[in-house]
């Protein structure tokens, strides 16, 4: 895509985040039709309205609930139904999903999903769908390129063994870099809507704290404290015990490595802190909303609920809760339960009476004991699933948070991995 030029202050984030009022020059404005629709208002309380009103949707929630798929489906819907230019920024999509979005081997670069791909799924998008994947290492390197004061510092950092370890392996670095990338794309491009999938974290909240933690880290007194002896060799009485312990545990060389790394990093201190603060502001901006994804299983749902409460506590906008893989409604029906019990308890007599009817269709299928086994299996399977469906319904009823949109997506009995599938899924939570 064509990159737009931006000012240096915007690049470092000093005027970014909440203070960015207009789109970058060169960006397309929202279509007239859309603005009109907005003024008459979308149905409130629908995903349709939420995605039309916001610029950033952060999809978050516990692991294994279908976050990535839901984020992709929301982006597909917005691209197809609204005349918007939509980006889905995804972290670790299933291979088939990545293929469907044309992401295979693309990495960090934003990439437009071609209209032909939509056409082959029978869809004609009004807007555009773009997709990008998050490559942590590449994003970190880009960050160093951006903030390093000179080439020498830049190259030394990139070659530092600690840096390579941090950017490659350091768990929390994913959280920070995801939000950093979001900020970069939002401030430098002209998407109407960006849907972000969040990385799997030990704790669903980690990525929220990441920008602040990063800022704290680089402004930490301890950081300076640690660096001092390697700059001046002056160790005062207060810090001496710490060094002697640290030296004995880690070894002097390693401590020196750490210090060198942070001395280098300090040269980028201002850029980093400003930037992480701007990222933090963007997350709490009113143009940003959060969609919490969950299933109705007890453990993930409690985690999602906790997360939703935390969002509210931080005054972040909880736009939607999407409940995935919900078992179909017909499983709740008490009548169904009665029918299934009758079918199971009277299977023998029922199969005797059913046998002649089946015989008239296919004599091979008319053995009554076989019919009986089938009826019992069918009935018990229904009753089994009913237990789970009722449990899910109760879990849902106890949900203590009230988002703008509460959507359910039924259980899909096959995998979703193409644009058509994403669209079908998206239709379920659209209105």
């Amino acid at each position: 895509m064509a990159r737009v030029r931006i000012s240096e202050s915007e690049r470092t984030g000093t005027t970014g985040g909440a203070t960015r009022h207009s789109r970058a020059p060169g960006g397309e404005p929202r279509s007239g039709v859309l603005s009109q629709q907005k003024s008459i208002g979308f149905r409130s309380g629908s995903m349709d309205g939420l995605l039309a009103a916001k610029e950033i949707v952060v999809a978050c929630g516990p692991g294994g609930v279908g976050k990535t798929t839901t984020a992709a489906a929301a982006a597909v819907m917005a691209a197809v139904r609204h005349g918007s230019k939509v980006l889905v920024l995804t972290v670790d999509p299933a291979k088939r999903l990545a293929d469907a979005l044309g992401l295979a081997g693309i990495g960090n670069t934003e990439h437009r999903v071609p209209d032909e791909a939509f056409a082959s799924a029978g869809l004609k998008p009004r807007g555009q769908l773009w997709a990008a994947m998050l490559d942590t290492k590449e994003s970190w390197d880009a960050l160093i390129h951006r903030h390093a004061p000179d080439r020498r510092t830049r190259d030394e950092i990139l070659a530092n063994p600690l840096y390579q370890n941090i950017s490659g392996r350091f768990v929390q670095s994913h959280d920070y870099i995801a939000m950093e990338r979001l900020y970069e794309i939002h401030s430098e491009s002209d998407y109407d809507l960006i849907v972000v999938d969040t990385p799997p974290t030990r704790n669903a909240l980690d990525f929220l704290d990441a920008p602040q933690r990063m800022a704290d880290f680089f402004s930490s007194r301890l950081l300076r404290w640690l660096i001092v002896p390697y700059r001046s060799r002056l160790v005062n009485a207060a810090t001496k015990p710490f060094y002697s312990v640290a030296d004995r545990i880690l070894g002097t060389d390693f401590l020196a490595d750490i210090s060198e790394f942070f001395i280098l990093f300090q040269s980028m201190y201002d850029g980093f802190v400003e930037r992480s603060e701007a990222v933090g502001r963007l997350l709490s901006d009113r143009r940003t909303t959060f969609a919490v994804i969950s299933t109705l299983e007890a453990v993930p749902l409690r985690e999602a609920e906790f997360f939703a409460e935390q969002l509210k506590g931080r005054k972040l906008h909880l736009g939607a809760i999407v409940l995935n893989k919900v078992l179909p409604d017909y499983l709740h029906s008490p009548e169904g339960g009665v029918v299934a019990e009758t079918m199971r308890d009277r299977a023998e007599s029922i199969s005797n009476e059913l046998a002649p009817v089946l015989a008239s269709i296919d004599p091979d299928l008319a053995a009554p004991d076989q019919i009986e086994r089938v009826l019992i299996e069918v009935a018990e399977s229904f009753l089994n699933f009913q237990v789970v469906a009722v449990r899910e319904m109760e879990e849902r009823a106890t949900l203590s948070v009230a988002p703008d949109v509460l959507a359910s997506v039924p259980f899909f009995d096959t995998d979703i991995y193409d644009l058509g599938g994403l669209f079908r899924l998206g239709e379920q939570f659209w209105t």
Partner: protein, 323 residues
């Protein structure tokens, strides 16, 4: 696959240290809790350690919250929660004879800092504590409710990474014995939990190959959780389709005295779900070395979770292990 797996897989309960991992949402904690419970009922003295600190393990035993100091919550079953700072304190006290009491304040601050600055420090303290329990033979088996598969490699590779980064010093000398424990397939193993779904299967296959490439820990077993029951054989399925036709259906409704539509629909759902999952199971079997045992645990159609469910899973594990 590397030659790592070749004929070295020890029976699960004969191991001393078992890391249980898996993609989020597949039932990792359930399996870890149930495995520990089963081992404890087989006369093993077992420690189950929660590393993720979500406090779930206690819930699976309906026990009060756990802490760093282990507690016997069921006969010969001890539980603890990992706390890296407490681990550091214990380490300093035991290994370096440093009188910690007076210095906890600045030490805690400094620790948090060094742990953030020096990658691997937090991980090494976790793995170190676990290996220490094994080395001291405090338990027959230590079961770890480990981080999800995305994070476990970093944890298990930490001793090696530290070895590469730190050339001298006390930590360096400490990582050697840890590596000995982690690398011995008769002592340490990893259990990968997965469900027969696309992403969990992908992650499990990926985990198995990364484990061999980036760590010295062996894959001891793959647990396939939430396997749906097979409703029909082939001919029974034909009978089922036939019953769904207009004439048999009309009569069936009359016989059961109500709308049988939803009941049959639910069976169709169950059949398709199982079929979709079967293809993923196939991929899993092809993607994992033949010598790694696979344990299949059934989908539980239960009302709630708790000790009762954990016991149910424990007995399924027992059956799969041939007890």
């Amino acid at each position: 696959m590397t030659e790592r797996a070749a004929s070295t897989v020890a029976p699960l309960l004969d191991l001393k240290l078992v890391f249980v991992t898996g993609k989020g949402g597949v039932g990792k904690t359930t399996v870890a809790s149930a495995l520990a419970l089963f081992a404890s009922t087989q006369g093993r003295r077992v420690l189950v350690c929660e590393v993720d600190a979500k406090g779930d393990v206690a819930g699976f035993y309906e026990a009060p919250p756990t802490s760093f100091k282990e507690k016997e919550i069921l006969p010969s079953l001890f539980a603890m929660t990992m706390d890296t700072e407490a681990s550091l304190r214990e380490y300093l006290k035991l290994q370096m004879r440093i009188p910690v009491v007076g210095r906890i304040g600045p030490l805690a601050k400094a620790f948090d800092f060094v742990a953030t600055a020096a990658p691997g420090v937090r991980e090494i303290l976790t793995v170190g504590k676990l290996c220490y329990e094994v080395r001291e033979r405090n338990y027959d088996l230590v079961v770890v409710d480990a981080p999800a598969s995305g994070h476990i490699i970093g944890q298990l590779a930490a001793p090696q990474a530290i070895n590469d980064l730190v050339k001298v010093g006390l930590i360096r000398s400490q990582t050697d014995w840890m590596l000995d424990i982690l690398s011995d397939p008769r002592t340490t193993g990893l259990v990968a939990v997965c469900t027969p779904e696309e992403m969990p299967v992908n992650e499990t296959i990926q985990l198995a190959s990364r484990l061999g490439e980036e760590t010295t820990v062996s894959l001891a077993a793959v647990v396939v959780n939430r396997v749906l029951p097979e409703l029909f054989g082939r001919q029974e399925e034909e009978v089922f389709h036939c019953i769904g036709g207009p004439a048999p259906m009309a009569q069936l409704q009359e016989l059961v005295g109500g709308d049988a539509g939803p009941v049959l629909e639910a069976a169709r759902l169950a059949v398709t779900m199982r079929r979709t999952r079967a293809t993923h199971l196939d991929r899993l079997r092809h993607g994992i070395d033949d010598t790694v045992p696979m344990l299949y645990l059934p989908y539980l159609f239960t009302r709630s979770h708790g000790l009762r469910t954990t016991r149910q899973v424990a007995s399924s594990i027992g059956e799969e292990l041939g007890y």
